[in-house]
Symmetry: C2
Subunit: 220 residues, 2 copies
């Protein structure tokens, strides 16, 4: 499916490669993607509620050969996470998950990480941010140097309970967001988080990919 829509990178989730996999399994999965011409650019989203889970996440990322963890370390583990970042030279993009989460929006993430090593930054999830009343366009501008990853999706309407739909079919300001990312010289990935029609996801992924490319192309 990724090949068909011309997407050649992904952030791998534990659903596809469990966090407790042994080195051989991790290596095998990594090689499969590599052989298919797909770059695993990040591991995550990985929740980290204990030091052991932080350790495991970094070992997993290291085995995979990725230099970015999209993760959710509990706030009290951020100092420990920073030590690991320094030791492994693997970056951590802290993901916001909307109402009820430890980090509803990038604002709460930024307040916790602003004093830490700059390799700890944000994964701005625009859907969860909007659900929590935040403005993703403003946030990718305000926190530009610390934005390490972006999760793209759309919402039919902005309510707390809303689920992700295909890009361009909802109300989120995708154009404003991409304009801001380009303006701020964002060099990371934009991941399409597809959660619709999961028994036949390809058409929706294709529509989102097309929309993203159309906007980016038109913005020059």
């Amino acid at each position: 499916m990724m090949k068909r829509v011309g997407i050649d990178a992904l952030s791998i989730k534990d659903f596809y490669l469990p966090l407790d996999s042994n080195a051989e399994t991790v290596k095998g999965v990594g090689e499969k993607f590599s052989a298919a011409g797909i770059r695993i650019y990040a591991a995550g989203v990985i929740y980290m509620k204990t030091q052991a889970e932080v350790d495991r996440a970094f070992d997993y990322a290291k085995m995979l050969g990725v230099d970015l963890i999209v993760g959710v370390p509990n706030p009290e583990l951020l100092a420990y996470t920073e030590q690991k970042v320094k030791t492994y030279n693997i970056r951590v993009a802290v993901h916001n998950h909307g109402p009820g989460d430890l980090y509803p929006t990038p604002v709460e993430v930024y307040e916790h990480i602003k004093g830490l090593d700059p390799r700890i930054g944000l994964c701005v999830d625009i859907g969860h941010t909007a659900r929590a009343g935040g403005d993703p366009v403003k946030m990718v501008r305000d926190y530009a140097p610390r934005v390490l990853d972006v999760h793209l999706k759309d919402l039919s309407v902005i309510t707390k309970e809303e689920h992700a739909i295909d890009l361009g079919t909802g109300v989120l300001d995708i154009v404003g967001l991409l304009k801001s990312l380009i303006h701020n010289r964002y060099i990371g990935y934009c991941s399409i988080e597809h959660e619709l029609d999961m028994n036949d996801p390809l058409p929706g992924i294709a529509e989102s990919a097309g929309y993203f490319r159309g906007v980016v192309k038109a913005l020059g």
Copy 2:
């Protein structure tokens, strides 16, 4: 498939509704689309090599209730076609089909129709235009008031023999084209002509639709 990608209008081809269908069949097919929330905005592409074929095309369009024929009347039939346009008040967008065609690009169409009733205009096919060495962006600007329909597609490279691929995956200047159409206040449709992976066309159609909407949205 159209509903899934949010496309609610089409130009019907004889493949779906033969030109020699009786009134009952035409009415039935028209009602099926209507019941599904889809507007048949044009009939075509219809080739017309004789007066009888011109007559048949207009009767077909009238039965369908469309006010636009995307057609290819032989040049010697254009005067007769103009009479029919006046009688039926049905417009004709003359389609260009690239190298070897009666009308390789909109230039040849325009030279033949410029003195005729303005309800005879162009269906600019950007792929066939490019294959014949023409610049679709320039042509939708130069012939703006006479552009009645647009066929969108992309090409991997520009050669005479090239086949259509999904929008945004090739080299045609879709952004420039849509910018020009918007600038010239084009009010017709842009039809996605999908000719790839015909055993499973939905993902490609979805990608093209997404790309089109992304560009249009970004252009404001």
